[in-house]
Amino acid sequence: MPTADPGVRVSVDPRLVARTRDHLAAFLRALHDAGLSVPATKQRDFHAGIEAVAPSTTGQLYWVGVATIVTSESGHPVFDEVFRRFFGSPEDAVLVVDEPAEAPEEQDGDDDEEEQGSAPAGDEVEDLLVTETSGSGLRAGLGSPELPKRFGRTSASAHAVMREIAAELPRAVPRARSRRHRPGRRRHRVDLRAVYLESRRTQGEIVRLRWRHRPTQPRRVLVLIDVSGSMKQHSPDHLRFAHTVLATCSGAEVFTFGTRLTRVTAALRHRDVDEALDSLAPLVLDADGGTLIGESLTELLADPHVVTMARGALVLVLSDGLERGDCTAMVGAVGRLSRLAHQLTWWSPLACDPAYRPLTRGMAAVVGDLDALAGVRDLETALAQVRSSFSHAPAHHPRRRNHD
């Protein structure tokens, strides 16, 4: 194996060594203060890396730091900022950015708020504002008030319905076979290990066969809640329903969308539903604003975490489907979501009306991709749908075949 020639040791002023050590310690503390966790093992690796590489340029030191300290792509910006502060710009480090030369594009990362492709988010949406909706709920728009929204308190009767939903959910959520085999009575595969161990007590005579099987487990649940102006009166109850789902189903995820996509899973995990809803105020800034369903769902599907999450999951979309303008993005995203999901169910408050037909351009185009289209406007109607195992479809709805 090729190795570096051991360099000749040069005697260094001990005061310089001490100052360097202090500087490195301060650098590691600054990383910690900036929010990048650097546990003791990582600090040790960093020092060992410096010992091993003996960096002679800022660039070399930068790459040693990146390899030994950073543990995810999202940690890079924090590391870069603190590194520049302490050591200057790593000019001879080739900072490779995931961008084509002519057409810059954001690198997909962990942050749910990151932009992807053409999906507008954050400040970009401001350029798209056309008209501010009145919040009447009669029209979908593109504007967003960008104000914290309070979703109100939960009544005692709502609490009671939520408890009922929680009791029904485990039975209602579709199940899938686990990939792992467990010992059990169902005769799926002979448990050779158990058979062998038992036969040792009878001189190799197999008296009884033992079995292993793949037990079932509930599928993941992905809830997507439309918080635009046209859904204003339904959003609070939909969020309460999502809170119940998170409390009941392990591994569930919840996103809201209006003019942008927001992951609200962590905020909604708070034990108390009102506390959870209050914590959404600074997060969901597009509540009661416009609707960009297609762009929001496209952004959602650009995240590989979510694609993995949606694969084989029960996906619930709580929206009236009133998409403004071109519906191409919405149709494409719903189509892909339906191909990923085990079951794609759409709950629209409009469908509570028996005379409802999905005739708007967006809904008419996506209805064939749905497993169920049902009317849900509050917790009571949500409970009814949970009791029907999320699969109630109106007579006019062309049910597609479920797939795994």
Binding site: P2, P39, T71, H76, P100, D110, R179, Y196, H305
Partner: protein
């Protein structure tokens, strides 16, 4: 033992793997410090290939553990050959012979992790797509990665004769546990800048002229900028280049060869339609 930077760069280049400064540093440190190296990046950027060329450079055996949902210890570490044990037990009973030790090497099925530990010259262990495995398996790996040793109850503790060089890859389809990340060196492999990608494609597709390589890489970058459902990686660029070269050598015009072999680059209907809608933009140089 630290590999010299220039030497490693040259040896990887000789094997047609062009690494950037950050990856070279990460690999050198992984070997020098004996720490696992976690490589993340989008599919097709060369994460898996690193371990192949590294094994070749170090002259070590490459042991690959492909992760998947539901993988467990018996598929990764070792398993006893129960049918063989049963047959031996029955044979001994029939012949009246003394039952042999049913827990010796003859009945042990080596899986990748045990094979790695027992490699006499040390191995490069590739734990591929760790994000596909579940949390239970990840937790088990922590123990293995900590001391490169495992305990087989019937045989005792097996420790690596020569500590392996471990490379883990992840497509980030789920977040790995901090406990695992803490034990690893980390490097994110991004899409390369066009100049490096052109060099990679040229190295991997013999017969491709510099100008054609430049056109092809430009087209790839235009397609990535269009925001397809799946952005093509370097592996796809290489496959596209190789396919186009094969067709061009058969007399097809370069622009047509690129279009005809587009299926090597984009692999779903929506993306094919997207490229078709921007045909002029994507193939503007190639038709020249």
């Amino acid at each position: 033992m630290l590999i010299d930077h220039a030497t490693l760069d040259r040896q990887l280049t000789e094997r047609r793997y062009l690494a950037d400064e950050g990856l070279l540093t990460a690999v050198r440190l992984a070997v020098a410090l004996g720490r696992p190296l976690l490589l993340e990046g989008e599919p097709g950027v060369g994460k898996t290939q690193v371990s192949h060329v590294l094994a070749d450079v170090l002259g070590r055996e490459l042991v690959r553990l492909q992760c998947y949902e539901g993988i467990d210890v018996s598929q990764a570490l070792y398993e006893w050959d129960y049918p063989k044990q049963l047959l031996s037990l029955r044979a001994a009973e029939v012949t009246g012979a003394v039952v042999a030790d049913l827990y010796d090497d003859a009945f042990l099925l080596e899986r990748p992790l045990l094979k790695t530990l027992r490699s006499p010259t040390g191995a490069v262990l590739l734990i591929d797509e760790i994000d596909r495995a579940d949390s239970e398996f990840e937790a088990f790996l922590l123990e293995f990665l900590d001391g490169f040793q495992i305990t087989i109850p019937e045989m005792g503790t097996v420790t690596a004769t020569v500590p392996p060089v471990v490379v883990l890859t992840s497509n980030r389809t789920r977040e790995l546990h901090d406990a695992l990340k803490r034990r690893c060196l980390y490097h994110w492999i991004p899409f390369p800048e066009p100049e490096r990608e052109r060099a990679i494609v040229e190295a991997q597709a013999p017969g491709l002229s510099a100008r054609s390589a430049e056109q092809l890489v430009r087209s790839v970058n235009v397609i990535r900028a269009l925001g397809p459902a799946k952005r093509p990686g370097i592996a796809e660029s290489i496959a596209w280049a190789q396919g186009s070269v094969a067709l061009a050598e058969d007399g097809t015009a370069w622009g047509e060869a690129l279009r005809a072999s587009l299926g090597l680059l984009v692999k779903n209907e929506e993306d094919v339609e997207l490229v078709g809608a921007h045909d002029h933009e994507v193939f503007t140089d190639a038709d020249g």
